[in-house]
């Protein structure tokens, strides 16, 4: 079993605290993605779990055993690095067998295991080449193979696809997900790309500035973001935000900065009358309607054939994105009115950024 649990984990370099107390528990066999903007500490957190980086405070437990003082090599985890970190002077075969040699695996067994993994990752015809003679995708496969061949309890991926081109990235994404299904190990995957996170994860941990913003299943994060940051980070294109003030008399009416008034959900959210709130609406929930409460000046239109995006701004200058299936008749320079169903709206406290959703 390789459930991974973090309890109050902190990391500081001198005065600078980069990980500010993270509690997280990843069940055995789960595919967990750490996502966040660059500099949020996700890679550091991964290296702390791997044991390559020490922790300043708190506990890390793998399979129920606290591993704070156990060196990286003995934690039973394997890691795939962003730069692949293949040994440049060794052939692919030597790269794959290096870890097995270090644990005194018999020669014949190494050959069998390396052969199996190479076949699985379709790198068996590359075994006698050196890393410099491989393409980016092949190197990535070798790096994954090197992790797989040791049959670790868990895998750690540190932005493994960021050096690949877009097409290859989609392929490799599918392969890593397939690998997870086949091996069934716990995997932690670090990325700054929320699409990767959404498509691959069982659970996503959104990090910002060394803090855990939200941890949950991808659709949970999408449907019930805990705060403005998660709401803005998860989902593409970004959620639209409109700030305003709840009507003093009617909790179900929001007066925007522009003076426009629109209906907001009365149930499910804890907005108080007169409070400053931010309304969040996904672009695909906005639609143009002649009687819509918000006026938007169209600045750009993208027609993709099967779907279309309209970019514009409100009278107060807030950027608005509309996404609609099919093709749209809206043109550049038009002024349109938009509306949204109240049950697709999210409300956040403007000052704290927290969701006002009641659970």
């Amino acid at each position: 079993m390789a459930a991974i649990e973090l309890r109050g984990v902190r990391k500081a370099y001198g005065q600078a605290e980069v990980i500010k107390g993270i509690d997280l528990s990843i069940a055995h066999g789960e595919f967990c993605v750490f996502v966040g903007p660059s500099g949020c500490g996700k890679s550091t957190l991964l290296r702390m779990i791997s044991g390559l980086e020490g922790i300043t405070e708190g506990d890390i437990a793998i399979g129920g055993e606290v591993v704070n003082d156990i060196p990286a090599a003995d934690r039973g985890l394997a890691m795939v690095f962003q730069s692949y970190a293949l040994y440049p002077h060794m052939t692919v075969r030597q790269n794959l067998s290096f870890g097995l040699e270090n644990i005194q695996t018999p020669r014949a067994e190494i050959a069998t295991k390396v052969g199996e993994v190479a076949r699985m990752l379709q790198i068996d015809m590359l075994l006698d080449r050196r890393p410099k003679d491989l393409s980016g995708g092949q190197r990535q496969r070798v790096a994954i193979g090197r992790a797989v061949v040791r049959e670790p309890r868990g895998f750690l991926f540190d932005e493994p696809l960021s050096n690949l081109d877009a097409e290859l990235r989609v392929d490799m994404r599918g392969e890593i997900a397939a690998l997870h299904r086949r091996l069934g190990n716990t995997m932690i995957y670090v990325t700054h790309d929320q699409v990767e996170a959404m498509t691959m994860a069982d659970k996503i941990a959104v990090l910002r500035l060394g803090k855990l913003e939200q941890f949950g299943a991808p659709l949970d994060l999408y449907n019930r973001p805990a705060n403005l940051f998660v709401a803005g980070f998860i989902g593409s294109p970004k959620m639209n935000f409109l700030s305003g003030q709840v009507d003093a008399d009617d909790r179900a009416r929001l007066r925007l900065e522009t003076g426009e008034v629109l209906a907001i959900p009365q149930a499910g959210f804890a907005q108080r009358s007169g409070a400053n709130v931010t309304l969040g609406i996904r672009p695909n929930h906005l639609h143009a309607a002649d009687a819509g409460p918000v006026k938007v000046a169209v600045r750009a239109v993208e027609q993709l054939g099967g779907e279309s995006y309209v970019y514009g701004q409100t009278a107060s200058g807030t950027a608005i994105t509309l996404h609609s299936p099919g093709q749209t008749g809206i043109d550049l320079g038009d002024v349109i009115h938009v509306d949204a169903p109240t049950d697709e709206m999210h409300l956040f406290d403007t000052d704290t950024g927290l969701s006002l959703r009641m659970d």
Partner: protein, 350 residues
């Protein structure tokens, strides 16, 4: 081959030679002359007999006077060309010389003794290599012993130096510990202290440790060099830390990381240092001169020095031995020079 030729005869272009072509080629030829003439002069002179070496004015090529063995004379007789008098044009063998006259015989008629004015004769000389200079080294002098001493010191000092320097460089480039910068500064700081300053303390230490007059007394003190540590450290800084992390995740011990990852990846820098170390050790003179006093421990450089006596110097043997001493280092350099160029480029450039 044709590319080499094309490179060596490159010009600025155009039908006629530009003045800059003349300037560059004269400069290059001057350089070639300055570099090669002493070496060629040395090699040619090493094939001259002692007598030929003493001659004034000196000749460029080694010449020896021709001799002839005649019946009734135990020693070979020197041959002379007669340039004047009644026997002009003949080649005669000289029996002995008395004052300004020489007693000579015609090899065709050995019974008749002729008296010739020494101004009327010139020695018959031919280009001959005095190979006995070299064979003597192996017969009369213990060249092989000195050669072995030098080789042993060079090889073991180089190996020990590469091992210690690369370990120090590994620690100084890849481990973060308190005082790392201080240690590095200390190492580099010793570069500023000339060897002559530490000569006496070093000698006292070596003597105390009982290494006086032993080859190890030459090998050990030179084992760690700041230049080597610094050179290797700069190179190792370019090896990505992620590779080391990957090896740690692969359960490699720190020693294994050093041996299987760091060393192979630093091969270009290590090759440079190896070549430098071989040249330093092989040509080292001052320190071996101080530590080694018994001739059976002499290195080639010390043996060369001992040829030069206070009263008499045996130039022919000295020159022959100099050539033999130069040869190994020249060969090492010839075969490894491309590593020096690429190694220095990659240690400095990145």
């Amino acid at each position: 081959m044709s590319r080499t030729l094309a490179f060596l005869t490159a010009t600025r272009g155009g039908a006629r030679l530009h003045w800059s072509d003349w300037a560059s080629y004269s400069y290059l030829f001057l350089g070639v002359f300055l570099m090669f003439f002493p070496v060629i002069w040395l090699v040619l002179s090493s094939f001259k007999t002692e007598a030929d070496l003493q001659r004034y004015p000196p000749t460029f090529l080694p010449y020896q006077q021709q001799t002839i063995i005649l019946e009734g004379h135990a020693d070979p007789l020197p041959l002379f060309q007669i340039t004047g008098g009644e026997h002009e044009g003949k080649i005669l063998a000289q029996l002995r010389r008395v004052g300004l006259r020489a007693q000579m015989v015609d090899p065709a008629d050995p019974e008749t003794r002729l008296t010739i004015d020494i101004a009327d004769r010139a020695p018959v000389e031919r280009f001959t290599l005095a190979t006995e200079n070299y064979t003597d080294l192996f017969g009369r002098f213990n060249f092989l012993l000195y050669f072995w001493n030098s080789t042993f010191i060079t090889v073991s000092a180089t190996l020990i130096m590469l091992l210690t320097n690369s370990m120090a460089a590994f620690a100084l480039s890849k481990y973060h510990f308190r005082g790392r910068t201080a240690v590095l500064l200390l190492v580099i700081g010793t570069l500023m202290i000339p060897q002559t300053v530490v000569l006496v303390p070093l000698f006292l230490i070596v003597t105390e440790l009982g290494m006086f007059n032993s080859l190890w007394g030459v090998i050990i003190p030179g084992a760690a060099t700041p230049t080597g540590v610094f050179l290797l450290r700069q190179y190792m800084l370019t090896i990505p830390d992620e590779i080391l992390d990957a090896a740690r995740m692969d359960k490699a011990s720190e020693w294994k990381i050093y041996w299987r990852i760091i060393l192979p990846l630093s091969a270009p820098a290590i090759a440079v240092l190896a070549i430098l170390a071989i040249m330093w050790r092989w040509n080292d003179f001052l320190w071996p001169l101080i530590v080694l006093t018994q001739s059976e421990n002499f290195t080639l450089q010390l043996a060369l020095n001992s040829f030069q006596g206070e009263l008499q110097t045996q130039w022919s043997s000295l020159l022959a031995m100099t050539v033999l001493t130069l040869l190994p280092i020249a060969l090492v350099f010839m075969f490894l020079q491309k590593y020096i160029a690429t190694g220095i480029a990659s240690t400095g450039g990145k």
